[in-house]
């Protein structure tokens, strides 16, 4: 019986921890509307169907990476027969997604994923800003 206070305190602490994500989101004013990335204007079709890109762009990029770095292949043929040079900065960013902050970053921030890509690969716009 003497432990009643401690038990209640423990339970309360547990509850606080359990609901911590909700409090955090409330205080950070995360909207329920979603990340709303801005697709590049004037472009209809990415290097693969949108549905695939939305769920699996990271797989495709990793595959590109391994093709270029480890197998020395540079050319990618999309499912609809177009050819692309496999390059994050020189193809993805330069040719379409120049507004990285409005596209890549929005979803990544929303999902709280930290991608290490930009530690090395340059976003042609923020390039000079990030590199002092």
């Amino acid at each position: 019986m003497r432990d009643r206070g401690i038990i209640w305190m423990g339970l309360a602490l547990f509850l606080v921890f359990l609901t911590l994500p909700a409090w955090h989101n409330l205080s950070a004013r995360v909207s329920a509307k979603g990340p709303q990335p801005v697709p590049p204007a004037g472009q209809k079709q990415c290097v693969a169907p949108v549905e695939y890109m939305r769920t699996s762009h990271m797989r495709l990029l990793l595959d590109w990476r391994d093709s270029v770095v480890r197998r020395g292949a540079q050319d990618y043929t999309s499912p609809d027969g177009r050819h692309f040079a496999m390059s994050l900065t020189n193809t993805c960013l330069r040719e379409c997604h120049s507004a990285k902050a409005d596209f890549c970053d929005r979803c990544h921030n929303y999902e709280a994923v930290a991608v290490p890509c930009w530690d090395c690969h340059m976003d042609s716009k923020t390039l000079l800003g990030s590199v002092k």
């Binding site: 990476r65 480890r70 020395g72 540079q74 020189n90 090395c120 990030s130 590199v131 002092k132």
Partner: protein, 240 residues
């Protein structure tokens, strides 16, 4: 998946065999890249560092002032240091410059020791690096008998003053070195250092092609390689 075990095994076998065959064919028929450094030509411009500047600009090699943390892919060293064991004190070539870079050894110790295959030998002979995979253990730096490798002791970006967006920078904690401009020769261009040399003192070429200018030069002129006694078989040659 309607794949029977037999079909799966057959497919795996076929995939394995075609992979091995491709490797074999490429090794026999593909190019074998190499470089020659003409020290006498290089010496005509004693203060020239154009090859170094071109390489470091093309590959975003940082200019770190602290010599302990220095990074370089190609550097200028006198024969007296590069070939210390061969050049006695009376040698006429002691002061000649010898550009030092990764030798893209036929039998590279760095590739042998790397625990994650982040550095590996391509079919065309280039000792390539996968900076995505490097864990930064620096075993390759201990293994390289030429001091060709540099480590990113800190974030290199603040020291890259004029970045080239077409090539990535590196991040802290990975090893880097000359790649024989794999990204350029893939599109038919010569390495940046070769292109930049005003004296044409650097010759890049295909050892597998008997008609290549490099082979002709090697057949006609006496040349040396660094530390051949170690069995690494360097692919960078020096004309005296």
């Amino acid at each position: 998946m309607n794949l029977t075990r037999q079909a799966f095994l057959r497919l795996t076998g076929i995939a394995f065999l075609t992979g091995a065959a491709r490797k074999l064919v490429a090794a026999v028929t593909g190019p074998r890249w190499a470089m020659a450094v003409d020290a006498a030509k290089c010496a005509t411009q004693p203060n020239c560092t154009r090859c170094i500047a071109a390489c470091h600009q093309a590959h975003n090699v940082p200019a770190i002032p602290d010599p302990r943390h220095e990074i370089h892919w190609i550097a200028k060293e006198p024969f007296a240091r590069t070939f210390a064991a061969e050049e006695d004190q009376y040698s006429p070539v002691r002061a000649l410059p010898a550009m030092v870079l990764c030798n893209h050894c036929e039998n590279p110790p760095c590739v042998r020791v790397c625990p994650v295959q982040a550095t590996f030998k391509r079919e065309d002979g280039i000792v390539a690096m996968d900076w995505h995979r490097c864990i930064g253990c620096r075993y390759c730096m201990a293994a390289c008998p030429y001091g060709a490798r540099s480590f990113n002791w800190e974030d290199p970006r603040p020291y890259i003053h004029n970045p080239n967006p077409e090539f990535p920078t590196r991040t802290k904690g990975v090893v880097e070195k000359c790649t024989f401009c794999a990204e350029r020769i893939g599109t038919g261009r010569p390495p940046a250092c070769v292109e930049a040399c005003p004296q044409k003192a650097l010759v890049f070429g295909n050892l597998a092609d008997p008609q290549s200018p490099l082979r002709a030069l090697l057949a006609s002129r006496r040349h040396v390689r660094r530390k051949p006694e170690l069995g690494t078989q360097p692919n960078v040659f020096y004309f005296l």
